[in-house]
């Protein structure tokens, strides 16, 4: 006679429930990508990728989204560059200069972690007030600064985590050869953490490309590819948003295609991050 029937029933019930939720989550991911691909591919054309909007583009006339693609790349690239130049010194400081239980390191890490959770619309509002305070207009530069603030915590913590993996012995080996802390940081710690650093950069870049709420106030929108930092710039997410907002089916189907392009770009970046990390592990000491 089986004795623990109830227990086994409970076990079976929860196990099936958990399997169901896991499959559900997996299906959501596949479903979303499936819908975007199916809708997007059917209205994607070569002209869309290579032309800027012509007159009446938002009424269904000729043109493409080149302005938004280039704009997004410029904006996210510039923002990543700004954030990176701040993040690397901070991550080095946290890992090479502070002691193990330094209050400053704790404070900085906690504050960056909390900043990761602040909604992008708040960064947008902050960027907007900052822009007014600095006397800027909606422009590529204002957008870059805003997005840089948005991705700074992500980038900084990402690099921090990858530098944190550096074995203590390796740092000590460098010190014992008479290297200073800055030399050790630049030549040993950054080198050991380079793959992780690169993947953090790519992730931040992807986040910068995909974000829309923060650039709504600050980057403006333009049908032309910007030629200077002070010009407004179109971004892919906002282009999708505006195209979806029109009542014309042709324009809306272009939005699907744009969304497909954006998704592919972001997936490509995250795939690239994984591949590069694997390739660059050559000099990393395990």
């Amino acid at each position: 006679m089986k004795r623990f029937d109830l227990r086994n029933a409970e076990e079976f019930f929860f196990k099936s429930l958990m399997l169901t939720t896991t499959v559900l989550v997996a299906c959501c991911a596949l479903f979303i990508v499936g819908v975007i691909t199916q809708k997007g591919l059917s209205s994607l054309s070569f002209e869309m990728l290579t032309q800027t909007p012509k007159g009446g583009f938002y009424l269904g006339k000729e043109g493409g989204i080149l302005n938004a693609i280039v704009g997004s790349l410029l904006l996210a690239g510039g923002a990543t560059a700004i954030a990176l130049s701040i993040s690397i010194p901070i991550a080095i400081y946290l890992n090479v200069y502070t002691k193990k239980n330094s209050w400053l390191a704790h404070l900085t890490r906690t504050s960056l972690d909390v900043m990761c959770g602040i909604p992008s619309i708040v960064y947008g509002a902050f960027g907007f007030t900052l822009m007014l305070t600095l006397g800027l207009r909606t422009s590529l530069l204002a957008g870059m600064i805003t997005v840089a603030c948005l991705i700074l915590p992500i980038l900084c913590r990402g690099i921090d985590e990858s530098l944190r993996m550096t074995p203590k012995e390796m740092i000590h080996a460098s010190y014992s050869l008479g290297a200073t802390r800055s030399e050790t940081a630049l030549k040993v710690v950054l080198r050991q953490g380079f793959p992780g650093l690169l993947s953090a950069v790519l992730m931040a870049f992807g986040r910068g490309i995909g974000d829309s709420a923060s650039v709504l106030f600050t980057a403006g929108f333009s049908d032309a590819v910007p030629t200077s930092l002070s010009q407004p710039v179109a971004t892919l997410p906002l282009a999708i948003f505006f195209q979806l907002g029109t009542p014309f089916p042709e324009v809306r189907s272009r939005a699907y295609a744009s969304a497909f392009v954006l998704t592919v770009m972001i997936l490509f970046i995250s795939l690239l991050a994984r591949l590069l990390v694997r390739k660059l592990h050559r000099h990393v000491i395990k």
Binding site: G178, H283, V284
Partner: protein, 258 residues
């Protein structure tokens, strides 16, 4: 306790050296002299402060958190814990071999060239000569001469330790500090490293920390025996091993305490 003076010249000297980690006493009032151009082995059971003593010779102890150092360490008569001293210059004088080899994340060549480059050597030819010379001294040249640009991670662990030796020698130190340098190695690699240390003792002051009594017997000219953070006995190896003065040294050598 005043240890008996070794006959050779003194290279490193500690005076009433005490080290605390947080509030625990790791070294208690150690005064010892390390002679020039000989192998000195620091022996004792684990946790007796052997490594701490070694770390205070090149001030690596600074890199550990919440340590307090009292007393002084003199290298060539200069107090290295004085605030005016440039630590990097002190450390350049000493090569360090750690328990596990710690190659740097770069190629074999770059590993050896790292120190000289940091200390200002830019000439590529000079560097090449230096790298070859030190890899030869460490007995690794023949194994790696065709793959100097490969990652140091591709070497076996025994080869990595010899690479670390070559890297340490490349900054032209006067002293080699070795903290249980063979504990992670297989017997053959161990013999390799021990042989190298033996060859090098004519030119360098070598301090080796080991918990292996037989290794100390094989290598050491002088022995420092420590127990629970205190210096128990030191002197020429033959004397300490054959006629220890202290009961605790005897016990340790016979294996009663370990």
């Amino acid at each position: 306790m005043q240890p008996p003076k070794p006959e050779s010249r003194t290279h490193i000297q500690t005076k009433n050296l005490s080290v605390y980690y947080k509030n625990t006493l790791a070294l208690n009032n150690i005064s010892v002299e390390i002679p020039d151009r000989a192998i000195t082995a620091i022996i004792g059971p684990s946790g007796c402060g052997k490594s701490t003593l070694l770390r205070s010779f090149n001030r690596m102890i600074d890199t550990f958190d919440e340590t307090t150092v009292r007393g002084s360490v003199l290298v060539d008569g200069e107090d290295i814990f004085s605030s005016k001293v440039d630590v990097t210059r002190i450390r350049k004088k000493m090569g360090l071999l750690s328990q596990r080899p710690s190659p740097l994340p770069m190629s074999i060549f770059e590993n050896v060239a790292y120190g000289p480059k940091i200390h200002g050597m830019r000439n590529r030819q000079q560097l090449e000569v230096l790298v070859q010379k030190n890899l030869q001294i460490a007995g690794l040249w023949d194994e790696v001469k065709d793959r100097l640009n490969e990652s140091a991670a591709s070497l076996s662990i025994g080869q990595q330790q010899r690479l670390c030796l070559a890297r340490g020698l490349a900054v032209e130190p006067e002293i080699i500090l070795a903290d249980e340098p063979t504990s992670a190695l297989d017997p053959i690699s161990t013999r390799h490293i021990e042989g190298k240390l033996h060859e090098l003792k004519d030119r360098y002051t070598i301090v080796i920390v080991t918990h292996l009594l037989r290794q100390a017997r094989r290598l050491a000219d002088y022995v420092v025996f420590m127990y629970l953070g205190e210096l128990i006995e030191c002197g020429p190896a033959a004397q300490v091993f054959e006629h220890p003065k202290e009961q605790r040294t005897q016990d340790h050598i016979k294996g009663v305490i370990s």
